[in-house]
């Protein structure tokens, strides 16, 4: 299983890093994205997480995303909870 940890500040740079880390992992086994340390989330990270979820689904790959309370709240506020968590 591959585990990718998200930083506290999930800005555009972090989103770019996440996308870079995920690309070789799609189709390569279970992935867990650990967002328990996240305190800040921007749009770039949200759409990267949605993309990760969609990509893993297409690859019929298991993707788990664990979220901090703050991250979970942002997902709810943006109506993205069902798409990410």
């Amino acid at each position: 299983m591959h585990v990718v940890s998200l930083p506290e500040k999930c800005d555009r740079v972090a989103a770019h890093d996440l996308a870079q880390q995920l690309r070789p992992l799609i189709g390569q086994g279970d992935i867990t994205i650990d967002g328990t340390a996240v305190r800040q989330v921007g749009q770039a990270m949200l759409q990267t997480l949605v993309s990760a979820r969609l990509s893993a689904g297409h690859a019929e790959q298991k993707l788990s995303i664990t979220a901090s309370d703050q991250m979970r709240r942002i997902c709810r506020m943006t109506a993205l909870e069902q798409h990410i968590l």
């Binding site: 500040k9 800005d11 996308a19 921007g42 749009q43 993309s51 942002i74 943006t78």
Partner: protein, 771 residues
């Protein structure tokens, strides 16, 4: 665009917003406080607040927040507009200006605590606050005004944000805490109207963070009911600089769309907004009304406080309320929703009252107006552009060279005997059009200078105890940006002088049979290619006896001198002259009026006084429209070619012998229709060789001056009348008395431009002394 450049634009917009707010509050003071005016003031302050937050100008943002809260209640009719309130708002505007100067120029941060307390106190005293029912009947559910904290939370009200700012901001905390503090976010959201927000790539590329705007929408009472993820690409293709999400928000029916539009004030075209989109499939109205947002955001329930201010919240129950009083504004009594009173902690919130919902027809009209306003605003934005002043000045310089080149070509064609070609006339006309268009770009309304005066007067009234009413005319008169910029100082001196020396105290005025309140009038108008700016007061006028005595005491004039009223009045422009008994921080050091005259002269202008004892004084500044290009009369004096600015020229003539009268050995006067004016041979001033000295064989150009009346300049002949580009003699050589500058003629030669005013004034004074 760099952050500094964006910040520079913000500062410019602040200046414009402050000017607009000043004009709006001035209109309110005059009783013109219609919705558009009040909204204009609110939006101006709101705009500053948004930008202040984006640039982390915390103190500026905090003050605008308090200011805006009061303005919001004024806008919503909760606070009645009375003189005392307008005074308070004007003082708040002055404070806001100080805050702005602090962030822009590094001026000391003003102490705003007392004023913020006053603004807050006004809110507490608002007559409608205690009422739990809306003042007007309404058929639609009503929405509570946002409850605002005393100080905005960090990052609150960010209309846009820079990516770099994300580092200093706990986004999640901001969202949640701000939402928690806002009661409307903790209220149920009922089905109303929708808005689809699609951030475009530019919203990401410019460093914007759309999530902050979503949070603001939520704070206004919106609920994100859907996120469109269909455009999100596979992770292999995702580009974090591109935007691929879109959100649908649902807002309460009664929420003013303008409030939502204001959230997007600073993001320009970076967002695609679609109003009233269909509710996405799978979302039900029941679901919306049953979502407990408070639980969603995990806000601790506020503990009831006995003294807590009541907040009227949304209630879907549409039952008539007995206490509702119909107003004339409502077209027909309609059932009003029963308000639900939700106590909030006093420490977190200031009291607010519900905003009366519009009746259906009014609401529809308002909605239509809003929709109509948006395209208009968009059109307005697309019709203006900010230009770097350097680029503009380069254009003006090039146009100046074009004027010279055109003149030189005309000269050459004339030498070749082909000056009468039609194309040359067309080129000349086009050149003039281009020049006028270029100068028009630099032209600004003088209102930007006048707009600073109300504050100055408020301060002067406070320090002198005098009461002054300001009247302004011709604020839309336009003149060159450079003239505008350099006009501030002389105008300030004149106004301070008028209040300090011209106007009497209320007691003195009443004793003199005048109203206790003095009137200061500022006016501007364009006349004969010049701008006339007048500063007049209805005070006591110049005390000529005292002025003359002071001038004699200081040795400025001889005790035996016979001086006209005009001459005595002009003594106040003498360096170091002051009649003030004591030196105040307003005036009295005797440097002001001297500086005024010099500044006006530096601008190529003239200043004159008209004063009547007991009735007041009027100072008239005659300024050129522009400092770069002007019209002039090309004249020959012996071997010299000179330019007489056309603004001074009254007429030109060749006198008959009987129209010339000699006075003494060297003085001659011209009889112009019964009026005698001095003849000034220019050869003495320019050292010309072979110049004509007999007026009957020469040409007399009669010129008008502000300070020395009319005179007849004796020249050999008039060669041409055309535009000339002014080249500063100060810059390239040194100031020369009687010469305003130089220009390049069509034949390539340099010609001096006469400073007619000083030339005539000096000549008249010299002759007077000689006599």
């Amino acid at each position: 665009m760099t952050n500094e450049e964006i910040q520079g634009i913000f500062f410019l917009e602040c200046e414009e917003a402050l000017t607009a707010a000043e004009a709006g509050l001035a209109a309110c003071r005059e009783g013109r406080h219609d919705d558009d005016t009040v909204n204009g003031v609110f939006r101006a302050v709101h705009s500053i607040k948004g930008g202040a937050g984006a640039f982390c100008f915390t103190a500026l943002q905090a003050f605008t927040h308090g200011f805006e809260t009061t303005l919001s209640d004024v806008r919503d009719g909760i606070l009645p507009i009375e003189d005392s309130l307008v005074d308070l708002l004007l003082r708040a505007l002055d404070m806001l200006n100080d805050h702005f100067l602090a962030v822009r120029d590094g001026a000391p941060l003003p102490d705003d605590a007392a004023l913020l307390a006053e603004l807050a106190a006004v809110l507490v005293q608002a007559p409608d606050v205690a009422e739990e029912t809306p003042a007007a009947p309404a058929a639609e559910p009503v929405v509570a005004e946002p409850v605002v904290a005393e100080t905005p939370a960090a990052g609150d009200d960010l209309d846009f944000d820079l990516d770099s700012m994300l580092a200093g901001m706990a986004l999640d905390d901001v969202d949640l805490e701000a939402a928690a503090a806002a009661p409307e976010a903790a209220q149920e959201t009922v089905p109303g109207w929708t808005l689809l927000i699609r951030p475009l790539d530019a919203a990401m590329a410019n460093g914007g963070e759309p999530i902050l705007l979503l949070r603001e929408l939520e704070r206004l009472g919106g609920q994100c009911i859907h996120c469109d993820v269909q455009a999100v690409p596979h992770v292999d293709e995702i580009d974090t600089t591109e935007s691929s999400l879109a959100w649908t928000f649902l807002f309460p029916e009664a929420l003013d769309r303008k409030k939502v539009e204001e959230v997007f004030d600073f993001v320009g075209d970076d967002f695609q907004l679609s109003w009233d989109v269909p509710v996405p499939a799978g979302f039900s109205a029941e679901a919306a009304s049953t979502i407990d947002v408070a639980e969603t955001i995990e806000t601790p329930a506020p503990a009831p406080v006995a003294e807590a201010a009541p907040v009227v919240a949304i209630a879907p129950v549409a039952e008539p309320v007995a206490e509702v009083k119909p107003t004339a504004a409502a077209p027909a009594p309609a059932p009003a929703p029963e308000p639900v009173v939700t106590p909030v902690p006093a420490a977190q919130a200031e009291p607010v009252a519900a905003q009366p919902a519009p009746a259906p027809a009014a609401a529809a009209e308002a909605a239509t107006g809003d929709k109509g306003a948006a395209p208009a605003a968009a059109t307005g934005a697309s019709q203006s552009i900010r230009i770097d002043l350097f680029k503009l000045d380069r254009l003006i310089d090039t146009v100046g060279e074009l004027v010279i080149a055109q003149a030189m070509m005309a000269q050459r064609l004339a030498w070749a005997g082909t000056a009468a070609v039609e194309e040359l006339a067309t080129l000349e006309s086009l050149t003039r059009d281009i020049q006028e268009s270029a100068m028009a770009i630099r032209a600004q309304p003088i209102g930007s200078v006048f707009s600073r005066v109300p504050r100055m007067l408020r301060e002067l009234q406070t320090s002198t105890g005098k009461r002054v009413r300001l009247e302004m005319q011709g604020e839309a008169t336009e003149l060159d940006k450079t003239v505008i910029e350099r006009l501030g100082e002389p105008l300030t001196h004149l106004i301070r002088n008028a209040v300090d020396h011209g106007l009497e105290t209320p007691e003195e005025r009443i004793a003199a049979g005048k109203p206790g309140e003095g009137v200061l009038t500022l006016s501007a108008e364009q006349r004969s290619g010049r701008i006339l700016i007048k500063v007049s007061d209805d005070g006591k006028g110049i005390d000529r006896k005292r002025v003359l005595a002071k001038a004699v005491e200081r040795g400025l004039v001889s005790p035996e001198a016979q001086m006209s009223d005009e001459d005595i009045d002009n003594l106040i422009f003498a360096p170091g002259f002051s009649t003030a008994a004591t030196i105040s921080n307003i005036s009295g050091r005797g440097v002001g009026m001297d500086v005024v005259r010099q500044n006006v002269k530096d601008l190529g202008g003239r200043i004159s006084i008209e004063s009547h004892p007991g009735k007041g004084s009027c100072f008239t500044l005659a300024l050129p429209l522009t400092l770069a290009i002007s019209d002039g009369m090309i004249v020959s004096v012996g071997d010299q070619t000179l330019v007489v600015p056309l603004a001074h020229v009254v007429e030109s003539l060749r006198p008959r012998p009987e129209e010339v009268a000699s006075m003494g050995a060297s003085r001659q006067m011209l009889n112009v229709r019964g009026k005698f004016i001095p003849i000034l041979p220019l050869l003495e001033n320019v050292g010309a060789i072979g110049a004509q000295t007999d007026p009957t064989e020469a040409v007399l150009v009669i010129v008008d001056t502000e300070s020395a009346g009319q005179a007849a300049l004796l020249v050999d002949n008039i060669r041409d009348q055309r535009q000339f580009v002014i080249k500063s003699l100060d810059t390239h050589y040194r100031p020369v008395n009687g010469v305003a500058g130089a220009t390049i003629l069509g034949d390539g030669r340099v010609a001096l431009i006469l400073d007619v005013d000083s030339l005539v004034a000096d000549a008249v004074a010299t002759r007077r002394l000689a006599a």
